[in-house]
Subunit: 361 residues, 2 copies
């Protein structure tokens, strides 16, 4: 499956902050075929540093998509049956408008003058894309981590437009620990003199700060046990521990594919996301939802622990929503949604099939 | 109890690396009175960023010691009964020789030319101090976190000189996750241009990098739950989360009292510490120990999880050592050994009393 990232531009988008972004571009990919009554579309929502290239082999680079083991012919999101859409989030750096985009009013990159963005804004842009593709109602929305937050936001903001939501390893709001880890990453970036208040485009980017931020991230994505299994206390050259070389490598590699300002904007969007905001309870947030839910979490995920998924499940059940919950046993920690595929794919496959039967009935 | 940090200088110390440090200075404090047969001395071993000022009010600053709630009249380490000694570790920055000390051969601070230091080297210097004080056998050695590592090293290296060891919230060797968090801190420091390969004495220190390192540390010292209880998602000025302000404050505060190069040296000493090194098993490391043990861990400590203390307990039991183990229930995470005092003090008090009875019998 050879894939290619496409792009569509809209005149403008109104944001939660009150700002209007003019114009706005969104990068996306599609896999499979939209059926005649447009009832088989699934929107995939990426995690923090993901992009539109969720599946297949990229036409230019040959790189596989970040969820290629879940999306494709006969896979969890079966492209024989479903039309799968994946887009890069607003304020990202992989084709969708973000701080690295050129502000037409100035001819220069927005940098920190890019307006603040919320998870709801990201979802609003996705809704514009779906409308553009002529799809009235998605069969499902699904994603892990920040993708799960977007899936919940979809169900809350556009209840008529989503038949099912599959939030994986996510939460309805960040805990102070999750905020704290993001804040360390932000401080590491802003402590790098090359960050220069965000004005580094065309110059040297804050590579050292961004690498440190990414190292922290990687620790939180793994579990204590998976690190012990993967690295132990093994040493490499010059008495460095293998885990140190690994983190440094992943940190330096990240710098080539991610923009530091997008790191700041997207982590802020995650931290401020709170479905209970302005409401009396999480259950109240789900007052008007019409979709069914499959909620998945992982035993060893200490960054997005199961209690956060259970909070969502309880609130949905309090609204008599159709919700299935599964905590999958794994050592992979938060990374499990990307790695631990067999059981997750099985759950998704069954849930989507029954959703499709319901929709076509 | 007004206290004062004293200092003693020795001609030289031989280090595990093969290097000799000439001369070497050690900062220490004592509390209580050494009895006539010198059988009531207890050595307190500080954690990563601690110092010799463990108890009482400092004569100059008025600051309480870092374990003041555990050490003093009628406290866990009861200074009515015991003579308590506390010293700053080798390679530290609070009076004991470290990278910030002046190298007499050059007249300049050692910086990164300070020889690498191990936990065993730290303990070797403490042994020199104890000898200097005329104490043949310590009633007990005790400390939390890195202090626990030193306590274990004491029991292994100087079996004749320790009647009892109380390692709290520690380990016989760092896991890759613990190494990884330390490595993030080191990379944050070394990414700061002001670090300048360690040569910043008399200039601007790498304050931003050191602050980021400290922020990561603070997250790992607390638990998910204690952060939720302490901060929740409360906001402060300018839409900052309280947890963000707290971490930034603690980070910037740390810069005034800690030397970045000491951060590098001490974390490396912790990471390389491994009692199984060169031995067939952890149990083999304890072959010659003669002391009794009280091992304490905390339920919510995810940085030094209970399984690491249990590994030590099992290995000691495999050698038929006299070992008591207690996992204390608490939400405070790794910080619990500094905070969660009542039960810990009670355990220590009883254990020390029975050790003293055994010694005097």
């Amino acid at each position: 499956m050879i894939t290619e990232t496409k792009s569509v531009q809209f005149d403008s988008i109104s944001l939660d902050s009150g700002a209007t972004l003019t114009p706005v571009e969104v990068a996306y990919e599609t896999y499979g075929t939209l059926n005649d009554n447009k009832s088989n579309a699934i929107l995939i929502l990426h995690a923090f540093t993901g992009d539109a290239h969720a599946a297949g082999q990229d036409k230019e680079t040959g790189n596989p998509g970040w969820w290629d083991n879940m999306i494709g012919p006969s896979k969890g999101f079966d492209t024989h049956k479903y039309f799968v859409i994946s887009s890069n989030v607003l304020s990202g750096c992989r084709g969708t408008s973000g701080p690295g985009s050129v502000n037409p009013a100035t001819g220069c990159p927005y940098a920190m003058s890019f307006p603040p963005v919320t998870i709801a804004d990201m979802v609003r842009l996705q809704k514009m894309l779906i409308d553009h593709l002529g799809i009235k109602r998605l069969l499902a929305v699904s994603g892990g981590s920040m993708g799960a937050m977007q899936a919940l936001q979809w169900a809350v903001a556009y209840p008529e437009s989503v038949a099912a939501a599959i939030p994986i390893a996510g939460t309805a709001r960040h805990s102070p620990q999750q905020i704290a880890f993001n804040e360390v990453g932000r401080q590491a970036i802003m402590a790098d003199p090359d960050w220069n208040e965000g004005n580094y485009y065309g110059k040297r980017p804050p590579a050292r700060g961004l690498a440190v931020a990414r190292m922290v991230g990687h620790i939180t994505y793994m579990s204590d046990q998976s690190m012990r299994e993967k690295f132990g206390r093994r040493l490499r050259d010059q008495n460095q521990f293998e885990v140190e070389s690994y983190l440094r490598y992943r940190g330096s590699q990240f710098v080539d594919r991610f923009d530091a300002n997008s790191y700041l904007y997207i982590t802020k969007a995650m931290d401020y996301f709170d479905l209970t905001n302005g409401r009396t309870s999480l259950s109240a947030a789900f007052e008007n939802v019409k979709s069914r839910f499959l909620v998945i979490s992982f035993t060893s995920d200490w960054l997005y622990p199961s209690y956060q998924s259970l909070e969502v499940v309880r609130a949905l059940r309090g609204r008599n929503c159709d919700v299935a919950y599964c905590e999958l046993p794994t050592n992979y920690g938060h990374d499990a949604f990307l790695v631990n595929i067999a059981e997750q794919a099985e759950l998704v496959r069954g849930f989507l099939a029954s959703t499709l039967r319901g929709v076509e009935r």
